[in-house]
Symmetry: D2
Subunit: 143 residues, 4 copies
């Protein structure tokens, strides 16, 4: 069922997304339907009030969803985000930020992923999102 492994995803990212490389993501866990992605926030991610910026959290959500999708459909399928809906639930404390993603639907044309964000301060989610990717026709995971 797997089209790309975690090391293959990172190799691809480092090659084509230098900005992503700089963000020091770590894939802690990856299987057919779920992913756990983490990184440590930096000064650039912070906001006054000792908190993490919304864009930093949205980047985390989108990246976790994208990596999970890549692992299933492979690098040739040019998945693009068509919708992202995020609820910010609690004030996130800077430090390690962890995204847990789960495939809600893996269709031929639409893929929907649910992502929850956690910090080390609590086992309660700081944010919850759903992300929809569209997979263009005439792309596939087979070379």
């Amino acid at each position: 069922m797997t089209a790309m492994t975690a090391p293959e995803i990172f190799a691809l990212m480092h090659k084509v997304f230098p900005t992503v490389k700089a963000m020091n993501f770590e894939i802690e866990q990856l299987d057919d339907d779920t992913i756990t992605l983490s990184r440590h926030t930096t000064d650039q991610d912070l906001r006054p009030g000792h908190t993490i910026s919304g864009p930093a959290m949205m980047t985390m959500v989108d990246t976790a969803a994208y990596f999970l999708i890549l692992s299933r459909i492979g690098p040739e399928a040019l998945a693009v985000t068509t919708n992202l809906n995020i609820n910010f639930l609690r004030k996130p404390v800077p430090g390690k930020l962890t995204a847990r993603g789960e495939l809600l639907k893996l269709g031929k044309r639409l893929v929907i992923v649910e992502v929850s964000l956690y910090t080390e301060a609590s086992d309660k989610r700081v944010a919850h999102a759903t992300v929809t990717y569209s997979i263009p026709p005439h792309t596939s995971s087979q070379p």
Copy 2:
């Protein structure tokens, strides 16, 4: 009806959000219910395929909404984003990115803003979003 002018918003941003300052936003227009915010994308905002990253667009949406809200409720009211929903409609071409925001509701506790994103390549929106901010109790624009 105005609590902060565009220069006052920028002065506040430069003081408390150095990252925002570096993004070179320009408030092209601001009145009671609408805002036009723009900036030129940089290499950091791009993705392979000559396009603008989702996070760069979400940052633009959130910032336009935040500035419009600040202009009405002032700096003392600590508005926080509680929901952001964005539809990515067309491939955005790097260059000048423009956000047009409109207040859908300015309640005492919830503020909802609609934001459309445009590039110079077309007069059709590249993305459309709604953003909800919550205004905590016991904060107000009156000192």
Copy 3:
């Protein structure tokens, strides 16, 4: 550009959606990119506190989007709703409920419509929504 006119849409609805027929929708205006749909609320649509139920408003949103899409892609294309996001802005007063829909994107596979709801009590929106429809492959408006 038009695949179905308002009378053709109603004829189709009456044939295949008896429940929709019973709701007494009126298409007040329909052109390439916009629709104005209205109906009068009944006791079944109400909630205590002299207001209109959320489901009644969501039905209005979905129907307006569906009719606008039908008018462009025709009855053979089996468009299905894949996402609906709605913000309830103000308490709606029972009576005439009007939906104004606008096409944000008419792609080959995804169609996104923005819908605002109004009542007669005010010119301010009572709700604002975006609806995404997916158009399955191998369906088209051409027989």
Copy 4:
């Protein structure tokens, strides 16, 4: 932690929401953070193609969220829906429709609930939603 039990919720519904009463909901399970609500679809809920209408599913989502919130904040707190975002994942087969709701956040002013819908045809979700309720000030579960 509980402000209302399942029988108390039903008694309230039967008193103030006759339409809801007619829908024959059953609360299968209810605890501090989760609810399982079900009902059998009727002809009024169906669409051509042997499927359940979007509005019927949205009603189910909103009701599950509302009952879960009622169970925690009680009947005096006039919670109103402010946002509902739903992804329709798979074609739902008529019959028993089950909603599983989970509290994502129970704040003093905002409550966010995640709801998944299932039918008997599969253990995969047919729809996934998040619902936000606002709790007006000056209402509380204490008489």
